[in-house]
């Protein structure tokens, strides 16, 4: 039983990470219809930035804040410089550009910081944090931090004029222009925010998966699955999808483990995590493209 709870708890911790990356993906998707294949690598790059800042003497949280801010700038610059001129380009061109970005971020990170795996610190005190036997201090910290970030985002989008303008620009760019919203900047801002959220996810997960240029590949795949489960154009769904997928992933591995214990037959375990995500992706895409919750657009005809 305790093991079961542990699995759920660590599933939630992973899920929090997936939720963040999925939300970043959805934010770009709803405003541009693009799937950012480079999202994971951007997050990885941000994580290295924070690591670099820490080796230069900044405290964890100072490095965290500076890296998140830098990531915001990075996202804005990428949108303005690279994607803006292509806004009428065919889908294939956009995809190719994303893959190009992915390759650049990955290889440049490798060039600057090498491909050697690095330890990444956890800012959460070992002694006082967590619930013994169920959830470790770092896992609990991850959940708390991501929930705070998600809460801030919710408040931003729900209650601030700028957040409202961003939602309007995503829903109907033409119309948004007609009420004076600078739509192009809203898109860039969306990219900046997505990039920042990715940074949060990367910095939080690096202690668990260790720091290396390929650290986000699997997480990105899980984030895709989460975004799809939640309905790719539904931000709240993406967050829910992240937690669902995070727990599901651990449950599958746990069930596989139990079966192996009981029958001695290995079916599925931690080694098949990405395969599970692949199956979720293809299943949702082909069977339930609107995701679990779909997007409830009330429309009068």
């Amino acid at each position: 039983m305790e093991q079961f709870l542990q699995q759920i708890a660590s599933g939630l911790a992973n899920g929090a990470i997936y939720a963040c990356v999925a939300l970043a993906l959805v934010m770009i998707y709803v405003s541009t219809d693009h799937i950012n294949f480079a999202q994971g690598e951007m997050a990885m790059f941000s994580t290295y930035l924070s690591w670099q800042l820490m080796t230069w003497g900044l405290s964890f949280w100072a490095a965290f804040i500076v890296a998140v801010a830098l990531s915001f700038v990075m996202g804005v610059v990428i949108e303005r410089l690279i994607l803006r001129p292509l806004h009428n380009a065919p889908v294939l061109s956009i995809i190719v550009v994303f893959i190009g970005l992915l390759a650049i971020f990955n290889s440049v990170a490798g060039a600057i910081w090498s491909y050697l795996i690095k330890e990444f610190p956890s800012p959460f005190p070992k002694s006082s944090f967590g619930i013994a036997g169920v959830i470790g201090p770092h896992q609990l910290g991850v959940v708390v931090v991501t929930l705070v970030v998600l809460g801030l985002l919710f408040v931003f989008f729900r209650y601030t004029p700028l957040g409202l303008a961003m939602r309007a620009a995503a829903q109907n760019p033409q119309m948004a222009r007609l009420v004076g919203v600078r739509v192009d900047w809203m898109l860039a801002l969306g990219w900046g925010l997505a990039s920042s959220i990715g940074a949060v996810a990367g910095i939080m997960v690096a202690h668990i998966v260790y720091l290396d240029p390929n650290m986000m590949a699997g997480i990105l795949l899980y984030a895709f699955a989460s975004a799809l489960v939640g309905g790719i154009s539904n931000p709240a769904g993406a967050v829910a999808g992240g937690f669902i997928v995070g727990v599901l992933e651990n449950m599958v591995a746990y069930a596989g483990n139990q079966i192996e214990k009981a029958t001695g037959i290995y079916i599925i375990g931690n080694g098949e995590k990405l395969t599970v995500a692949l199956i979720i992706v293809i299943f949702v895409l082909t069977v339930k493209p609107a995701g679990l919750f779909g997007r409830v657009v009330v429309k009068r005809v």
Binding site: L92, I99, A103, S107, A111, A217, G271, L274, T275, L285
Partner: protein
């Protein structure tokens, strides 16, 4: 026009067959190492052609062709390792297996367009190394360790080195495959494939079974790339799961984009290109470090990434396509 380009192709093929025989005259220029490099270029061209058949000629995206390359390579490797099948017989076997796998993947892909198909195939590419390590397959695939093979032996006591023989073998396979692809594209079926790509609304009403064409194209495309995988297993004499990661698929994409989307010759150029860059990465890195004095280990992927973006901006038709257009303009201007 058609006949002159045919002559050119024939000329190049003949040249490709003759050059290695000139080794006694130019022993340094035509080293075994260089022939091996050319063999890997040939293999790359076939893989890129496979992707091009799907994306360039049929309009379906794939960021996961590394998966089919892996299936081809592993089919060949397992057959050679477990059943002692001769290397040449693994080529058709890999083609059949990959056709089936590709066809099956093409079924759900029918429902997906643009970004979503890219996403599904991207997910496939990410998951491939893990699938190859699956415990139940370990007996066959050797798990993380992979499978070590023997290089193809020179048959009939021919006076060739292993690398020379490998080169000829790859060359023959390539010529057959490109010839077959050219014929297919020129046929009714080929035109149907392209009609689907160009989204002629009439494709359905013209009596084209769109679903069938798309899935079969997926199968053929996978078979081509799978054959390339099988050849690579023989050439490198080794397969291991982690070499079939997402970056392999990115290389095919670079080959596709550099060579030109929807171009047969382009596939060759694209294949040659990515192997060249991959192999010059070391030199490139040295250059950046020593000559430019930058503290980086510049990797081939930085070059690939920058090129992917640059090409989209500057030459949306690919380098081969762009040069071809430029050439036509010059000729037209006369």
């Amino acid at each position: 026009m058609a006949s002159t380009s045919k002559k050119w192709v024939l000329g190049i093929v003949v040249l490709a067959f003759v050059v290695p025989l000139l080794k006694p005259i130019f022993p340094d220029a035509i080293s075994d190492y260089r022939l091996f490099l050319v063999s890997t270029m040939i293999i790359a061209s076939i893989a890129v052609l496979g992707l091009n058949l799907l994306t360039g000629f049929n309009g379906q995206f794939s960021l996961g062709h590394g998966a089919f390359y892996a299936v081809g390579a592993y089919t060949a490797a397992v057959l050679m390792d477990q059943l002692s099948v001769p290397y040449w017989a693994t080529i058709p076997a890999a083609a059949i297996v990959c056709f089936i796998v590709g066809y099956l993947f093409g079924l759900p892909a029918l429902k997906l367009e643009g970004h979503y198909l890219a996403l599904a195939t991207f997910a496939l590419a990410l998951a491939v190394p893990q699938i190859l390590k699956y415990k139940w397959l370990e007996g066959l695939t050797g798990g993380v360790q992979g499978i070590v093979l023997n290089k193809p032996e020179v048959p009939f006591g021919l006076p060739l080195s292993e690398d020379q023989w490998l080169y000829y073998f790859c060359l023959v396979v390539m010529v057959i495959l490109f010839w077959a692809a050219a014929n297919m594209l020129n046929s009714r079926s080929g035109r149907a494939m392209m009609a689907i790509r160009d989204q002629y609304m009439a494709a359905d009403t013209m009596g084209i079974d769109t679903a069938l064409y798309k899935t079969v194209t997926f199968g053929i495309s996978a078979a081509y790339t799978g054959i390339a995988g099988a050849l690579s297993a023989s050439a490198i004499a080794f397969v291991a799961p982690d070499s079939f990661n997402i970056f392999l698929s990115i290389k095919f994409l670079i080959g596709l984009v550099v060579g030109g989307i929807g171009s047969l010759t382009g596939s060759v150029i694209g294949g040659i290109f990515y192997v060249l860059v991959d192999n010059s990465a070391q030199a490139l890195s040295q250059f950046v470090k020593n000559d430019l004095g930058l503290p980086f280990d510049l990797s081939a992927y930085t070059v690939f990434g920058v090129l992917l973006i640059a090409i989209i901006y500057l030459m949306p038709m690919g380098i081969a396509g762009g040069l071809f257009m430029a050439w036509r303009k010059i000729r037209g201007a006369r």
